[in-house]
């Protein structure tokens, strides 16, 4: 990987007061790749995404997107500015707007865009991808099941027309058949639309199957990294993360 990576974390540390959530974490994500971040609860996976979006300042190191510094001690870009740089995030717990309709939730994803025609055609595409949503277009966010909310959250992120998509535990608390729909759509999003994906998961089996490269986080540092197919046969990974 000699070209500029799409996303790069260099020696990032991140704290919550006294809690050291990340310590010297370095991650590279190439353009068009699907990269997985796996690890136990509290390992620091969400913190990596918070460092990337700028929802939290780093304590050391730097985050670069397309080679541009976005979060470091010297330069801190506000989180809301990232959308315009082609980064969208599906947060842990989905965070859809509870008192907006599905349609309005999806349109919120296009908040930073001005191209009306493009927004309309993307709305159509999201509905084709998740036909279930189209049927409930006017229904309020809070009335949906977890799986439906996750589709809304992913659809909303796609409405931003991202080049880099970050997902935080999209399979958490969701029925297996919906997980399959979501997994399939992620593959499509990546292969057909060329969107780079960073997939954070506790569901390691799913994450390794979908990704080409993966990082294993343990108590705030990268314990292991490698091509996903290799990690799948790694003894440490098998024992701790694949329940074998």
């Amino acid at each position: 990987m000699s070209e500029t990576p799409h996303l790069e974390l260099k020696n990032v540390s991140l704290r919550y007061g006294e809690v050291r959530a990340l310590e010297d974490v370095s991650i590279r994500v190439g353009r068009g790749q699907v990269v997985a971040l796996i690890g136990a609860n509290g390992a620091g996976k969400s913190s990596v995404l918070r460092a990337v979006t700028g929802l939290r300042k780093v304590a050391a190191g730097e985050v670069r997107i397309d080679g541009n510094q976005t979060n470091s001690l010297q330069h801190q870009q506000p989180a809301h500015a990232l959308v315009a740089q082609g980064v969208a995030m599906v947060p842990e717990g989905r965070h859809i707007f509870p008192y907006m309709s599905i349609k309005d939730n999806l349109l919120m994803g296009a908040y930073s865009r001005k191209d009306k025609a493009g927004i309309a055609s993307d709305l159509e595409r999201v509905c084709e991808r998740f036909p279930l949503l189209k049927q409930r277009f006017q229904q309020q966010g809070s009335s949906l099941s977890g799986g439906e909310q996750q589709m809304v959250a992913i659809g909303r992120a796609l409405m931003a027309k991202p080049r880099l998509l970050l997902l935080d535990e999209p399979s958490l608390g969701i029925a297996p058949q919906i997980i399959r729909i979501i997994a399939r759509s992620l593959i499509e999003i990546n292969t057909k639309e060329g969107i780079t994906i960073v997939l954070v998961e506790q569901n390691s089996r799913m994450a390794l199957a979908l990704s080409s490269y993966a990082y294993v986080l343990e108590t705030g540092h990268v314990a292991l990294e490698g091509p996903s197919s290799e990690l799948m046969t790694n003894e440490h990974v098998k024992r701790l993360y694949l329940g074998a």
């Binding site: 989180a79 809301h80 500015a81 995030m89 509870p98 907006m100 349109l107 919120m108 908040y111």
Partner: protein, 291 residues
Amino acid sequence: MLQVLINGALLGAVYALIALGLTMVFSIMRVVNFAHGQMYMLGGFVVYYLYGQYGLPFYLALPAAGIVLGLIGVAFNRFFFQPVLATSTREENSMLMAVGTALLLENLALTLFGEKQRGVPEVVEGIFIWGDVAEGGVVLTYSNMLVMGVAVLAIVALLGFVQYTRPGRALRAVAQDKEAACLQGVDVKTTTTLGFAIGAALAGIAGGLLVTIYGVNAGVGSNISTKAFIMVMIGGAGVTKGAILGGLLLGFAEAIGYDIFPGSVTYLIIFVAMIIFLLFKPNGMFGKPWG
């Protein structure tokens, strides 16, 4: 009776405006703005001075009240609430700050404007009479009609703004989920400031409207705040349609009450009814925390 209902509608429209302002600030910041009534009072004084004293036309003095209070809202948010919200981990802190700002405004007003009750000349002269007043006809001054019309217009404009404009969408998003709003590219800080400014401006406009009917004095703030809390509690904190419903209900209750009962009995009954209502519906009519 028709007369009483018309009075209720008039009062209700302006009250709804007051409640909408309070609920706007609450939904955006989760802060109960105890100074809302004092902001109303300042709006009254802006119109009193500009229109009543300096002779500026009312149609300029009233927007000025909105603008002045909007700016005060921006300043309060920037210098008082944001710093407290950013550093405190406990909800009481911002509440105490809100009480502090209310006391500050009230005492400032007492010092600057004195204790006297102030009134302004009629905005439009003339009176509308329908039917025989002795036999249930209706009397309505053109001024009061104007107040009601402007209040309704302001409410419609606000609802349209929140529903159909880009900043309005940002306000709704921030009210429902700050982090998610930020991830969609909404500048949460600016939007919060806008929300506080609109809330304060609504109080100012309501004050500027009612000064033409009731006049104003430096002490009316806490009374108005109390009414605003009642209205918001009826509908549910942070719920737009709840605020409108609460405003109308209180307006009618007050108009009907003052028609039937002597003096302070009306509010005694309203308070008791309120407490009983809250025992059964602690979240208000619309039963959800915000939206």
